[in-house]
Symmetry: C2
Subunit: 398 residues, 2 copies
């Protein structure tokens, strides 16, 4: 009798969680001993965070207890924070213990990339976790309350969102929907509120959308009150607002940065070769340096046939997790591995209530149909991780 393989998964985001769920389903008893480590006892649905950030949905709809998703008799779950990876020793150092592994799955997610723009790290909030979006949600309401006791400070009701990509676009759509509700609640004239979406690139909305869809999306958001500042890199962020490259200063009580991400710093600090924090991997998603370390999601960099990195998103993370889980099963059975092939299914970006825009493979969709597709995509993920009961429990009707 040989000892079961020890598989440790660090991070229960899209990559880590789906790997764990798939392993749980496909590994037979005693084929491997699987441990999942995460700093929270919940998984959060990053693609949903723009809604609780704006306050258009409750943050509980963007998270699920891990204990509800995995069978703790099959997967050993540890709530702890990873301090260091020691790939040479095949060890993961947690804040309270050390785990040794035969195979590691690193799905530690991303960090905010501020590109060295002064003040962003200190003064801008980000849409990256349950806690970070609860802060945004509370901050927005706090600004309304502050304005009410000091109505000369209209800048309290100016909102700057840096970055007009996927997250920035989805967030400004929700924020624009939320503003009239807050104005009604606090007794504020809506014309006082300003929402700026500031973007260094000359175009808004997720990269890769055709021009007419981009125009459509920007029109929808402009009608909701969003003011675009394109080709406008942020030069500096202070506690009073943002300075743009052309010298304009937008005085704003709220600055949210969605302009960039990088891989979790822990990987490069642990000696992995990375590109902007994302680990270089082989066709099987294994570290080029350590073939017993698989990397999934935002921590891995995978290139398209033209040599450009695929953007980090939930879709690719889930597909990678399925591939890694399959290959780990093959390893326990001494079967050959399958390379990872990204099957791009499309991109749909929400523009707020009842509006979205995107591509299904190459088919353009927009408006109500796109908004419905967006809901289907979100529900599909919930189904993958938690089945129909989770879909029903976490999907808001609006």
């Amino acid at each position: 009798m040989t000892t079961a393989l020890k598989i440790v998964i660090i991070g229960a985001g899209y990559g880590g969680l789906v790997t764990a769920i798939k392993l749980q389903r496909h590994l037979k008893n005693n084929e491997a001993e699987v441990t999942l480590v995460n700093k929270h006892d919940y998984h959060y649905i990053t693609t949903h965070l723009h809604m609780p950030a704006a306050g258009t949905d409750h943050h509980e709809n963007a998270r699920v207890k891990i204990s509800e998703l995995i069978n703790e008799e099959k997967i050993n779950f540890i709530k702890s924070t990873v301090v260091q990876i020691k790939p040479e020793q095949k060890e993961v150092v947690l804040e309270d213990r050390v785990l040794s592994y035969d195979y590691l799955v690193a799905g530690l997610g991303s960090e905010t990339e501020t590109f060295g723009i002064p003040g962003l790290e200190e003064h801008a909030m980000t849409i990256r976790s349950i806690n970070s979006v609860r802060l945004i949600h509370q901050h927005i309401k706090y600004m309304f309350a502050k304005y009410k006791v000091n109505p000369s400070r209209t800048d309290y009701l100016t909102f700057v969102v840096g970055g007009a990509g996927f997250t920035g676009t989805e967030f400004v759509g929700e924020l624009a929907d939320r503003i009239p509700v807050l104005c009604e609640d606090f007794g504020v004239d809506p014309s006082i509120v300003k929402i700026y979406n500031v973007e260094a690139a000359p175009h808004a909305l997720p990269p890769g959308l055709p021009g007419d869809l981009v125009e459509y999306g920007m029109d929808v958001l402009r009608r909701k009150g969003v003011i675009y500042k394109l080709s406008s890199p942020i030069k500096q962020c202070t506690d009073e607002g943002v300075m743009l490259a052309d010298g304009e200063f937008i005085k704003a009580g709220t600055v949210i940065w969605s302009g960039g991400i990088r891989g979790n710093r822990l990987l490069e600090q642990s000696g992995f070769e990375t590109i902007r924090g994302r680990v270089k991997v082989d066709p099987y998603l294994r570290s080029l340096q350590y073939r017993n370390v698989f990397v999934t999601g935002d921590c891995a960099v995978v290139f398209d046939p033209d040599g450009r990195p695929f953007p980090a998103n939930a879709q690719i993370a889930v597909q990678q997790a399925c591939n890694v889980a399959r290959n780990l099963v093959y390893i326990t059975r001494n079967e050959p591995l399958e390379p990872f092939v990204y099957d791009y299914k499309g991109t749909v970006a929400s523009l707020g209530k009842g509006e979205a825009v995107g591509l299904l493979k190459t088919i353009k969709i927009k408006g109500r149909i796109a908004a419905l597709m967006k809901k289907v995509i979100d529900a599909r993920y919930l189904f993958v991780i938690g089945g129909l009961p989770l879909v029903i429990r976490k999907t808001s009707i609006r």
Copy 2:
């Protein structure tokens, strides 16, 4: 036919609103033309504000639309802000028009008195209006959200309440009740939260309570986690906390000042003789300078038989309003005026859910009975201004 007397009431707090309601009830048609001016279109129940401030009740339960309380066919209501009183010309200047009067009732309420303590005005919040308590409510939740993204900053969860009199005591009681709920909601260890009640005087709780009741009240609040700092004047307030006279600095994300009030500055600016902003009045509550100006509530200073000013509170304001309304009716009918006599009914201070302490005349009450009496007193006021329907609508069961 003579022209009807023009009565203008400025301020729809306890004094102004009750005057208006009583006049509406007792004046016959055409005996007088009554105008009520208020900067909001709602009346708020100041004695209830400690609850929405802490978040233990909704702010809507602390305000009532003025249109629901008065008959606008009998009382002319103007939503506007008073800019100046010109008693010589018998005129009130509003931000958008000028009103002339034969008789004026000034019930403009109080302002915060900071006694010149540096930084208090800029950095401390106050429990004085719907808007100011909504700010406190949002601020508290914002601090929890900030702490969650930056758990080394335990000072975000330190709350300093300056002043341990009536309002300060009632507020810390609610806050102490609210903290466990917020800790649960945000996932915070309650032992991290600190509530300081800081008082310059050597004793806490409303003045005039016997020593054993004060001890009882402080014990109740201490058990809920309140830390008292008595004989501890605040020397300075900064954006990081408060410096006490003994040199101790309490680092705190929240500072609330309930340590003093003064009469509305507008009165002294309009030439009235005042003591700490409160107008000196004759036995009929008329300005000593202008016998056609009645003053009610926090704007008036009335002395007890020993020559000490009665404290400003809702009870005396309502009684003054009744006296002023009665005397205005007498004036229209050329009947002699009645002097104002304060009938002290008692004081009950809430200590949070199910706990209170106080005096009914000279009878000491505490605990559940006192909490019930507090509810009866609050309900009685609602009954006076709005009848049973208002009592039912605004009284929360808890």
